[in-house]
């Protein structure tokens, strides 16, 4: 399983493409003609082989269960890939005259209507490019709303168990971030939160269901308190999969929530993106939504951008990206949502929660479930490393899963639990697949409790053994250099 780098096998005079000959013209490049670039080429066959072979060193949903908590790795239907590639969507320029892209604008509008209805919110900003970008969008809207009423505030409250993107985003927007503690049963401490509310607090960022896998029972009460204190509620929607069709965040007083289309609505993760993070907004925040957006005027879809926004969308906090969002994800998500429909999406949440509880209750005899007594979990089951033999860690169990043919669960997150293992099976796994996974994890838990030393060397049956991450960070090698050069540099 060794695949050479393209720089080791390609050459700068090989190419895998043909072009018509260039017209012979006098160059008008301002005298800035380029010399050597150093980009190797491969023939088409070599290229196909290189990437085909490389792909086989990856684990993927197409190969098996992917129990990453909070990441919602579910089945990616191929219909969605087909739809996204229809030339009428894929081969459209973002600045095409609007009369020529009515169908594309209709897609954005239809998806927006679904998202608004499913969340019970007032409107939606479609352009954010991913979840963290959506968080930014939500906080920018909150900040704009506060400033519009002349009430700049400086603090954002974030629970300890939040995703790292929450505090990072708040800080990025210039807010001071303060933690809110959790109760022993794994939920936000309502008393502590309300005590902290005051005229300096701009927003509370809450994840619901939270990262311990629990529903925040008090969210409506929290929202009311936050609103009473003149602040806004931002909900991290990464876990919307657990409640879609069964709970509408709008009914809980949420002011803004991003929706990860690549989680709840199954656009493929692609080895780290692209995602898409539309943000649903309450009526209070809607006037501050970013440009551009799509409006239906009679039978015509209109893209509202700087040119047309002035008169009736003066409050906008501006533009977040060059164009109008992740169209390729919108088409996929819309196809997915239509395929499920109102009945199917409700079933999604039910099966996701059922699968997670099934895992929780099938394993809580061998693994510590710190919040197992806090009621049913939602779509993810949380375990800790309590009870493992001396020297055995969550990492060992995770790497052991690789040898059992599974991707590891999310490790060491949320931070509030020691040695956390967060398992999210999603609704697209069959009972047979869950049973296999439970059996594997049970066996690993037993080995880790029994102190089976072999486990500390896992994985043994993967393309690589454990990799030296310290070395990588201490002496970063981020680009390839020809060996001679690399040696000379030493």
């Amino acid at each position: 399983l060794e695949e050479a780098l393209i720089f080791e096998i390609g050459s700068t005079d090989t190419t895998g493409v043909d072009f018509a000959p260039a017209p012979k013209v006098a160059s008008r490049l301002g005298g800035l003609e380029r010399r050597a670039i150093g980009l190797p080429g491969l023939s088409e066959q070599e290229t196909v082989r290189h990437y085909t072979r490389l792909s086989r060193q990856n684990y993927a949903i197409d190969l098996g269960l992917f129990p990453l908590g909070s990441c919602t790795m579910k089945h990616n239907p191929r219909l969605n890939e087909k739809v996204a590639r229809m030339p009428g969507f894929a081969d459209l320029h973002p600045l095409s005259p609007q009369s020529t892209v009515q169908g594309a604008l209709a897609v954005i509008h239809e998806l927006a209507e679904w998202l608004v209805t499913l969340t019970g919110m007032h409107s939606v900003a479609m352009s954010p490019k991913a979840g963290a970008h959506g968080e930014l969008c939500g906080l920018l809207a909150i900040r704009a709303a506060l400033e519009a009423r002349g009430d700049a505030r400086s603090v954002v409250l974030v629970p300890e168990s939040a995703h790292g993107t929450n505090p990072a985003t708040a800080a990025f927007c210039g807010y001071k971030v303060e933690d809110i503690p959790a109760t022993p049963e794994g939920r936000v401490d309502l008393a502590a939160l309300t005590a902290r509310l005051g005229p300096d607090v701009a927003a509370v960022m809450i994840t619901n269901p939270n990262t311990c896998g629990l529903f925040e029972r008090d969210l409506k009460t929290i929202s009311d308190a936050v609103h009473a204190a003149g602040a806004f509620v931002y909900c991290d929607g990464a876990n919307f999969n657990a409640i879609v069709g069964r709970v509408r965040p709008g009914d809980l007083g949420v002011d803004a929530m991003h929706i990860n289309l690549h989680k709840t609505f199954s656009t493929p993760h692609g080895g780290g993106g692209p995602g898409s993070g539309p943000v649903v907004l309450s009526e209070a925040l809607a006037p501050y939504a970013p440009l551009p957006f799509v409006e239906k005027q009679g039978d015509t879809f209109v893209l509202i951008e700087e040119e047309s926004a002035q008169d009736h969308h003066a409050g906008t906090f501006g533009r977040m990206v060059a164009f109008h969002g992740q169209m390729g994800m919108f088409t996929r998500a819309l196809a997915y949502i239509m395929s499920h429909g109102a009945d199917g999406l409700r079933q999604v949440a039910e099966d996701a929660v059922l699968n997670a509880n099934y895992i929780l209750r099938s394993l809580d005899d061998v693994l510590d479930a710190p919040f197992g007594g806090s009621g049913p979990c939602m779509h993810e089951a949380l375990f800790s490393d309590k009870g493992l033999a001396e020297g055995f860690t969550t990492l060992d169990i995770a790497k052991g899963l690789i040898d059992e043919g599974f991707h590891p669960m999310t490790m060491y997150f949320p931070l509030v639990v020691h040695g956390a293992m967060l398992v999210e099976p999603t609704e697209t796994e069959s009972k047979a697949a869950l049973d296999q996974f439970i059996m594997a994890l049970r066996s690993l838990a037993q080995r880790a409790k029994a102190g089976d030393e072999a486990l500390k060397g896992a994985p043994y049956h993967a393309p690589r053994r454990r990799l030296d991450e310290t070395l990588a960070a201490r002496k970063p090698v981020l680009t390839w250099e020809a060996p001679a050069l690399a040696q000379a540099a030493e």
Partner: protein
């Protein structure tokens, strides 16, 4: 319900293992008033694959796609032919349905691709190092401004009038909340860029100068004097490339002294896609690597001594550093980076140069032909595959009118700079290898008719 494998029998068995009487019992923590007792009203039920495909197909056919018309739009998004093998390879399930490679033992495929991508991007842009991608060019540009602030501890950025106005908008949006001060003017319709004005504007408070290359009007200028002026004042030069194919013909910004070079990588491998997903390129000098935002892949060895790759320097990132991270970015454009890297591997230096030469050659031919149309003046002395025509009337009208005739003529400066009437007669025309002589002739005739 074809994506849901549980049968009702399964569900009953599982509930009994859990010890719950019904699914509703699992939702007890939802306050009763927020618990929906039935599916949400007003939405259709599930649809067959056939029905969904039919609906989406109908919407797709309501658009005039670039391939169906003489097509000349650019201004930050370019139509290039992507070899079929690129799309085939990125659809391999092992790439398409993989997660971020946090478990390197079973993600070497993605990781090696990212390492190769970083090297390709660094070389293309003429820089030492590159990251594993950002959302798009505009957000990469904003991140570069923030990085320059962190490095220089200054917060005044000077944005060239030749920078894509949407990139300026994005930067302005973010700057409202970070206290950055951004200086920017609209461009003037002249053949010369604003390099001299930019140099004149640099002072000791300047964190960076941001310049696009080629710029929004297609103009090309040597960035060396600008880099020198910036460095002399302790500021950085940030260069933005929205058409990376240009660097198959042009000296890259990194070689002219730019400290940070960002770009929109959509041209290579990704396609138009009505604006997204796109691919933010981000490269810089070696010395600034620890201030860089975004994911990085690095080389290392495994426990058996074999070469392998991991995500590294993650102490810069939000999942470790939380509010002290260099960026809040989490998801990036991994699959687009893969597409870029495959396409670039197919091209190689030889193919990229041929592609660039073909683009430039056709653009020169088109510019000369269009300049012959009465009422049309070619603005540019220099350009790569995109140039600005000055018309005798507002280009917005011309674009709309030609669209009605099935010709996608270019991007009007009025749409890009709605507040600046002075550039309203400008039309930005891009010419790539997908344009044929007949298209140019059609555009020329249509313009002639429109301007008569």
């Amino acid at each position: 319900m074809r994506y849901l494998p549980l049968t009702d029998t399964d569900r009953q068995q599982m509930l009994s293992v859990i010890g719950a009487a019904s699914i509703d019992d699992l939702f007890v923590d939802v306050p009763a008033e927020a618990r929906l007792s039935a599916k949400i009203a007003g939405l259709p039920d599930h649809a067959s694959e056939l029905a969904v495909e039919r609906h989406m197909g109908k919407l797709a056919r309501q658009n005039l796609s670039a391939g169906e018309a003489p097509f000349f739009l650019g201004a930050g998004a370019y139509r290039h032919h992507v070899p079929a093998s690129v799309d085939h390879l990125i659809q391999r399930g092992e790439f398409l349905t993989a997660y971020t490679p946090y478990q390197p033992e079973i993600a070497q495929g993605t990781l090696q691709v990212l390492f190769e991508f970083q090297t390709q991007v660094a070389r293309l842009l003429g820089c030492d190092v590159a990251n594993a991608s950002m959302y798009d060019g505009s957000t990469a540009c904003w991140e570069a401004i923030g990085m320059a602030r962190r490095i220089t501890k200054r917060s005044k950025a000077i944005l060239s009038s030749g920078l894509h106005p949407h990139y300026v908008s994005v930067a302005n949006t973010m700057a409202k909340f970070t206290g950055d001060q951004l200086l920017h003017d609209a461009p003037t319709l002249s053949a010369a860029t604003d390099i001299e004005a930019l140099i004149a504007g640099i002072d000791k408070d300047t964190s960076c100068v941001v310049v696009q290359y080629p710029d929004i009007l297609g103009r090309i200028a040597d960035l060396t004097p600008l880099a020198e002026a910036a460095h002399a004042a302790g500021a950085l030069l940030v260069a933005v490339v929205t058409e990376p194919v240009a660097l198959g013909a042009l000296v890259p910004p990194g070689e002219m002294g730019a400290d940070i070079v960002v770009g929109e990588g959509q041209s290579i491998g990704v396609g138009l896609q009505f604006g997204g997903p796109y691919l933010g390129l981000f490269a810089c000098k070696q010395k600034y690597v620890r201030q860089m935002p975004g994911r990085l892949c690095g080389e290392t060895v495994d426990a058996a001594g074999k070469r392998g790759f991991v995500l590294t320097l993650s102490t810069r990132e939000q999942h470790i550093r939380r509010e002290k991270a260099t960026s809040n970015i989490c998801t990036n454009s991994g699959l687009c980076a893969l597409a870029f890297s495959i396409h670039m591997t197919l091209l190689g230096e030889k193919g990229l140069r041929e592609l660039a030469a073909l683009n430039h050659g056709l653009a020169v031919q088109a510019a000369d032909r269009l300049a012959q149309v009465p009422g049309v003046t070619l603005l540019n002395d220099s350009f790569f595959n995109e140039f600005t025509l000055v018309l005798t009337k507002d280009a917005r009208e011309v674009v709309r009118s030609l669209a009605d005739k099935g010709v996608l003529a270019g991007v009007s400066l009025g749409r890009l700079f709605p507040q600046h009437m002075s550039v309203g007669n400008g039309l930005v025309v891009a010419v790539t290898e997908t344009v044929i002589a007949e298209d140019i002739e059609t555009l020329a005739k249509a313009l002639e008719e429109e301007l008569a």
